[in-house]
């Protein structure tokens, strides 16, 4: 490629003026697009910083006049969900305690799966993998009830660990695919050299593969943290009200029919719930894109 460019010499179209008609249209369109995508975030933030009288008087696009952080405090510590009034903090800590074991367990299992599929193929391993990938397309509703029965059988129904198992199961297809593709892309010589040196299945995994695959673990973590944090369906079905994750509690707070609607508190609560994935998204940048691309590209 490099050589070809050198041979061709100067190339490309004549440099355009910076403010040509096409460019104005292009950047104009992009501006409108960016505006549409940012609008809801702007509305959330401004609404959550206004007092209720100001919301009733003005419109949702106005900037707040008297900035108040009271809605945030209220959403976090005193907003009511039917029975208890200790705010979203409860849901936040529930979500954290669901998140940590779910992410750890699902990534541990899926990385070993992917490693076995990439380097230690056995009879039938590809068949199971294909089933796993197709399983990702089965609507969850089809499997919800049998899983309730299975969890009840092992005594995990309604408990935090039951939900952890469910998240591990449903995160497995995408994560296994991710790890399998990554380990397959590593040079084969590496694996063979370790074999010659007498390392076994676990030895190679822990001493050769793990240290080399930090980036893919980060990608997997991004996928799982956002996915599990944003989950609503499994949380509402497989847990009990006192360990509901944040999304479920948020929905209960905002859509509760009792009392006067406090839109500023609702928006503060919504933002609080969205904050974790948003921070991960903005902090991870390209890795997030890589994570969703991994889901899109079939192995």
């Amino acid at each position: 490629m490099q050589n070809k460019y050198n041979l061709e010499g100067p190339q490309g179209t004549k440099p355009r003026k910076r403010l040509s008609g096409t460019n104005i249209m292009l950047y104009g369109t992009l501006l409108v697009v960016a505006f549409y995508y940012l609008l809801p975030l702007y509305v959330m933030v401004t609404t959550s910083l206004k007092g209720m009288p100001e919301i009733r008087a003005g419109n949702i696009f106005d900037l707040p006049v008297d900035i108040t952080f009271e809605p945030w405090v209220k959403a976090w510590s005193t907003a009511c969900t039917g029975l208890n009034c200790d705010g979203l903090s409860r849901g936040f800590w529930n979500s954290v305690s669901i998140l940590v074991p779910s992410v750890a367990l699902s990534i541990a299992i899926a990385s070993v799966n992917g490693y076995a599929l990439a380097n230690w193929k056995f009879k039938g391993s590809e068949v199971f993998f294909t089933i796993l990938i197709f399983g990702a397309f089965i609507p969850y509703q089809v499997m919800l009830y049998p899983i309730v029965i299975l969890l009840r059988e092992v005594g995990l129904m309604g408990s935090l660990w039951g939900l952890v198992v469910v998240h591990t199961i449903f995160g497995m297809p995408i994560l296994t695919l991710l790890f399998r593709n990554y380990f397959t892309s590593l040079p084969d010589e590496l694996f063979k050299a370790a074999r010659v040196d007498g390392a076994g299945f676990w030895g190679i995994y822990f001493q050769v593969m793990l240290p080399m695959s930090l980036p893919i673990f980060v990608v997997a973590m991004i996928i799982q943290v956002t996915g599990i944090w944003n989950d609503f369906l499994f949380g509402v079905i497989y847990t009990k009200p006192d360990i509901y994750p944040m999304t479920v509690q948020l929905n209960n707070i905002v859509n509760s029919v009792q009392g006067v609607k406090e839109y500023n508190v609702n928006m503060a609560a919504t933002l609080l719930t969205g904050l974790v994935p948003l921070i991960i998204y903005f902090a991870s940048g390209k890795l997030f894109v890589r994570g969703i691309a991994a889901g899109a590209v079939k192995g």
């Binding site: 292009l26 995508y37 949702i60 391993s125 899983i147 969703i292």
Partner: protein, 298 residues
């Protein structure tokens, strides 16, 4: 299962087999086992508890006579077709915009993709607020002087599904854009040069040359969107909870309510089997294309 004559065969790779137990269990017990269990029980008259009194297709007959289910299916069809067309068009359009060697590409991509990081619950609640007729868009247009302006999709039975659609497009189009952009970047630059030499306008190059070349990308996008459409649940629960009345019900919600609220398991199983059938209708041709294509190409 154990092959006594050749114990080596089974013992070789033993560690890998042990390590793969969770995967095998998930594939066989959950994905295959649970699915079959549900399909089998959709032919029974299970109510509060799953039973095995088979009643043939009774549950399905009843399902297709239930108004709520028919509305759910209609909503899913409208929502599905619109979000498929819109996501693909908007996603591709945005990708071509970003592909024009623009400045601030990263910033704009970050802005378009950030809603995808948010949950459906957050998306639904946010748009519920923006579309609130007393405070949101409707009020603003009215306060600008257009007193009779009406835009209250979440309180109007006829258009409520479009209110949900707006939120869904906002949340999901960034993903499609990223996939399309990756596809565009995979197009050989020589194609562009050749088209320019032949004097083909840019838009024509996109429509007649680039899009046909990106067929696999479009198929991937199609499958991803479809799988998402059938699953749509939390968005509706958060934004309208099926209302006003039952105007924005969707199949996934019908299943879960039959299952855990109305204690009508048979109906839930029949409805979820119908959802599975819908997915299969999309997935089987895709699998055929994918694997048939591979065999031809390589």
């Amino acid at each position: 299962m154990a092959d006594a004559k050749r114990p080596n065969q089974l013992l070789r790779n033993l560690n890998a087999k042990v390590a793969a137990i969770p995967m095998v269990a998930t594939a066989l017990v959950v994905f295959v086992g649970c699915t079959i269990w549900t399909i089998v029980h959709s032919f029974t008259k299970s109510k509060l508890l799953p039973k095995t009194d088979f009643v043939g297709l009774d549950q399905y007959e009843r399902l297709w006579k239930t108004n709520k289910w028919l509305i759910s299916i209609e909503n899913l069809a409208i929502y599905g077709i619109c979000s498929l067309v819109l996501s693909i068009c908007i996603g591709f359009f945005l990708a071509t915009l970003l592909d024009q060697k623009i400045r601030f590409e990263n910033t704009i991509r970050t802005i378009i993709l950030y809603p995808f990081a948010l949950s459906f619950v957050v998306t639904g609640l946010t748009w519920q607020w923006i579309l609130n007729p007393d405070f949101g868009v409707q009020k603003i247009v009215r306060s600008l002087g257009w007193e009779s302006f009406a835009f209250d999709p979440l309180y109007n039975q006829d258009i409520v599904i479009y209110g949900i659609l707006i939120a869904a497009i906002w949340q999901g189009s960034g993903l499609i854009m990223v996939i399309m952009l990756a596809g565009l970047r995979g197009i050989d630059q020589e194609i562009w040069k050749a088209a320019r030499v032949d004097g083909i306008p840019k838009w024509k190059t996109y429509i007649f040359i680039v899009i046909p070349m990106m067929r696999p990308v479009f198929v991937t996008a199609l499958v991803l969107i479809t799988a998402g459409i059938v699953k749509v649940y939390d968005l509706v629960v958060a934004q309208t909870n099926g209302g006003p009345g039952i105007a924005s019900e969707v199949p996934a919600k019908y299943v879960i309510e039959s299952m855990f609220k109305n204690q009508n398991l048979g109906q839930a199983f029949a409805a979820s089997t119908m959802m599975l059938v819908t997915v299969l209708i999309i997935l089987v041709p895709y699998a055929y294309l994918e694997y048939g294509g591979k065999r031809r190409a390589k």
